[in-house]
């Protein structure tokens, strides 16, 4: 394993890498601006937004938040184990991290199925247009995150493992970014209107 001491206090080396943080800020700005637009649109149709919000199952949103936060915790543990060269533990925690992501997607699919069955599709009203666009865009991020984590998992379990700490940390940062985006979406879409 390639263990190089990185000085995270250096402005050019934030944990996870500077490119990952630039992507993270771009993503946060994109989702942030869309959510601000959603809140501004809600001023024109407060009743529509309130009644539509009540059609969402906030328990699903709550459970999905718990899945992603717990998954993020296991991601931290996986990186920590990797840093002390405990590959077996790191691999186990990584599996638990991915399990959190799969459970999130499973529940989200069930939620989407329910909405489609009830006829609450993307064109139903302004609230549901935002709901579908924002949550589906986030789901794409989770899917990409799972692909990245799967690739890390296979690298980790190779006979001649040559995974670098920086690559592992960058993947972890991407996964935590999915957490952060969900933390932006959950209160605004599911709770405040």
């Amino acid at each position: 394993m390639n263990l190089v001491k990185i000085d995270s206090k250096n402005i050019y080396y934030p944990p996870g890498g500077i490119l990952m943080w630039i992507i993270l800020f771009l993503e946060l700005l994109t989702f942030g601006m869309a959510l601000v637009a959603m809140v501004i649109y809600s001023k024109d149709e407060p009743e529509v937004f309130h009644s539509s919000r009540l059609l969402l199952n906030s328990t699903f949103g709550l459970v999905n938040t718990i899945f992603l936060l717990t998954s993020g915790f296991f991601m931290v543990k996986s990186v920590e184990s990797f840093k002390v060269n405990n590959i077996k533990k790191s691999s186990l925690y990584l599996k638990l991290t991915m399990l959190g992501g799969f459970l999130f997607l499973l529940l989200k699919s069930f939620e989407y199925f329910e909405k489609i069955e009830a006829g609450l599709s993307i064109g139903y009203n302004t609230f549901f247009s935002f709901y579908w666009m924002l949550t589906l865009f986030h789901v794409i991020h989770v899917l990409v995150g799972l692909v990245i984590l799967s690739s890390v998992y296979f690298s980790l379990n190779k006979k001649n493992m040559d995974l670098a700490v920086e690559d592992f940390e960058a993947s972890a940062t991407f996964w935590h970014m999915c957490d952060l985006i969900w933390l932006l979406l959950f209160p605004i879409i599911y709770l405040i209107f």
Partner: protein, 81 residues
């Protein structure tokens, strides 16, 4: 010790999430409810960024960039809601 900190952070994040859902369900004043939910969101967001993403070990620039982003976002949402 480090593991305990992460576990405590996770428990706090879960507790704050449940609290936010509880406030949304039983809050009666829209503005006050929104203020509490957004404040809880900010704590959770910073908890994930500073602990899980190790931002507390990063350069001041990255810490302040995240703080500025989340503050501006919250201010705009709170004023608009």
């Amino acid at each position: 010790m480090k593991n305990q900190i992460y576990f405590k952070v996770l428990l706090s994040l879960l507790a704050l999430t449940i609290l936010a859902a509880f406030v949304a369900k039983f809050g009666f004043d829209l503005k006050a409810t929104a203020a509490i939910i957004l404040a809880l969101f900010m704590v959770k967001f910073l908890g994930v960024a500073f602990y899980f993403m190790q931002l507390k070990k990063a350069h001041f620039f990255w810490k302040s960039a995240v703080l500025i982003f989340v503050s501006i976002f919250l201010a705009i949402v709170f004023v608009s809601v």
